[in-house]
């Protein structure tokens, strides 16, 4: 998790990602609240947040995929957590802990490949791993221990799928779109694209 081998511009980029997504996260907090209210009459309220939960891991995927350094997934998520507190999220400082745990979840998947592989499979795995980590924390914090095992398994599965799609797949798509604009030329993802283009041309 050391930042010594990082360039300053990579750290600032990661911080900016954290700030931008903190805002998006806060928006989804209220969106999830609404979704929950819609689902309540059907007795499905617990699924309101689970369906969109993956969005809360997306900054890990984007930062890791773009910057490709040790700790990108963890730090970017942690920063997004801190910034949500700065903006004034009602969840308060606890959010920083949740964010750190989600970040560790995503980082674990990248660590398993020794930070070498950034294919779609690994990105999806990182989203799923973040989902499992965050669920374990939620189990403790929100008192999910008091709920029926059937519901726990169902919500966990929905969250994992959400993590795979909304974080893994969507995160890669957004990063690729950004790389296509050329602004990432100075970062790992942009450099990789350029290499491919050169190889094609020659």
């Amino acid at each position: 998790m050391l930042l010594k081998e990082w360039k300053l511009k990579e750290i600032v980029l990661m911080s900016i990602f954290g700030v931008v997504f903190a805002f998006i996260y806060l928006g989804f907090y209220f969106f999830g609240q609404g979704l929950r209210n819609i689902l309540t009459p059907f007795g499905l309220a617990p699924f309101g947040y689970e369906v969109i939960f993956g969005i809360w891991f997306i900054v890990s995927i984007i930062a890791a995929y773009v910057i490709r350094k040790k700790g990108a997934a963890f730090w970017s998520e942690l920063i997004a957590g801190i910034v949500q507190v700065l903006i004034g999220s009602p969840a308060g400082p606890q959010l920083i802990i949740s964010a750190a745990i989600q970040g560790l979840g995503a980082e674990a998947a990248f660590a398993a490949t020794k930070w070498k592989n950034y294919s779609l499979t690994v990105l999806v795995a990182a989203g799923m791993s973040a989902a499992v980590f965050s669920y374990a924390w939620g189990w403790f914090q929100s008192g999910l221990a008091a709920l029926t095992p059937g519901l726990i398994i169902a919500t966990l599965l929905v969250r994992i799928v959400s993590g795979a799609l909304l974080a893994g797949v969507l995160g890669k798509w957004i990063s690729d779109q950004l790389a296509a604009t050329g602004v990432l030329r100075g970062y790992a993802l942009g450099k990789e694209r350029q290499k491919k283009r050169v190889r094609k041309a020659s």
Partner: protein, 259 residues
């Protein structure tokens, strides 16, 4: 309240949040919630009206949460008499108790975090994270720089929208167009943010920012006796609550009672 060291304040409100997560009885969170509300209204300096405005929506949320927990209580907690059934869910006294307990717990979390966010200046919080909790300066100033850009995003969004209008792109209708519209706005906005990040980093380095933790600070953040007193009062109250709950035989930790 707003003069208390932000990092220590954050830790102070985190500890009860963590410890309360172990309790599943009604007594403990109820007593602590009463304490928190009294403390906030008497000592925090937050205007009552403002506090109520923030707090009241969470009462509704907590009720919803209690209702959901009642319906889905696990067998380990759903002891006691059968009270009533809703559709295919059976509600017992045990599940009502757990529902109320979790709702009160969530209100405790809200009161703790409101005490923090309504009395904390964001820049001071960041400086304190760096000086007291050793958050690397590179990250700290990166976040502060990014945070500073937030207002400019709104301006850029307006410019983008006007540019689209001028070129004859109207409001999106239907889900498909909405998604396209999202892409039309989100990608350029983020691309601009990335350019800014690069420029900011160059500017920081050219002005001699090395990111070394061995540096001087213009705003010195310190921890004084008053800060530790705040820490002691909040967490002391929590310990007294837990002890009282244990003595009276209410304490319930993950379904385990100490009677």
């Amino acid at each position: 309240m707003s003069s208390i060291n932000p990092a220590l304040k954050g830790i102070t409100v985190l500890i009860p949040g963590l410890l309360l997560s172990f309790t599943f009885d009604v007594f403990t969170p109820l007593v602590f919630l009463v304490f928190m509300i009294t403390f906030t209204l008497l000592f925090s300096g937050i205007p009552i009206k403002k506090w109520l405005l923030f707090f009241s929506p969470f009462i509704l949320l907590a009720l919803g949460f209690a209702w959901m927990t009642m319906l889905y209580t696990s067998d380990a907690f759903a002891g006691g008499e059968h009270l009533f059934s809703v559709w295919r869910f059976e509600v017992t006294t045990g599940s009502v108790m757990v529902g109320i307990s979790l709702a009160l717990r969530s209100l405790c979390f809200v009161s703790l975090s409101l005490l923090f966010i309504l009395t904390t200046d964001s820049t001071k919080f960041m400086l304190s994270l760096m000086q007291q909790l050793k958050l690397p300066p590179k990250i700290t100033f990166g976040i502060l720089a990014g945070y500073r850009f937030l207002p400019t995003f709104r301006y850029e969004y307006q410019v983008l929208r006007q540019a689209h209008r001028v070129r004859g792109i109207g409001r999106a209708k239907g889900i498909r167009e909405r998604i396209y519209q999202f892409r039309r706005y989100a990608i350029p906005l983020m691309a601009n943010a990335i350019r800014k990040a690069e420029r900011t980093a160059n500017a920081m380095e050219s002005k001699g920012f090395t990111g070394s933790a061995d540096r001087t600070h213009y705003h010195q953040m310190k921890i004084s006796r008053k800060d530790w007193m705040f820490f002691g009062v909040i967490n002391g109250a929590l310990i007294i609550t837990l002890l009282a709950s244990y003595q009276l035989g209410y304490l319930n930790i993950f379904g385990h009672r100490f009677v």
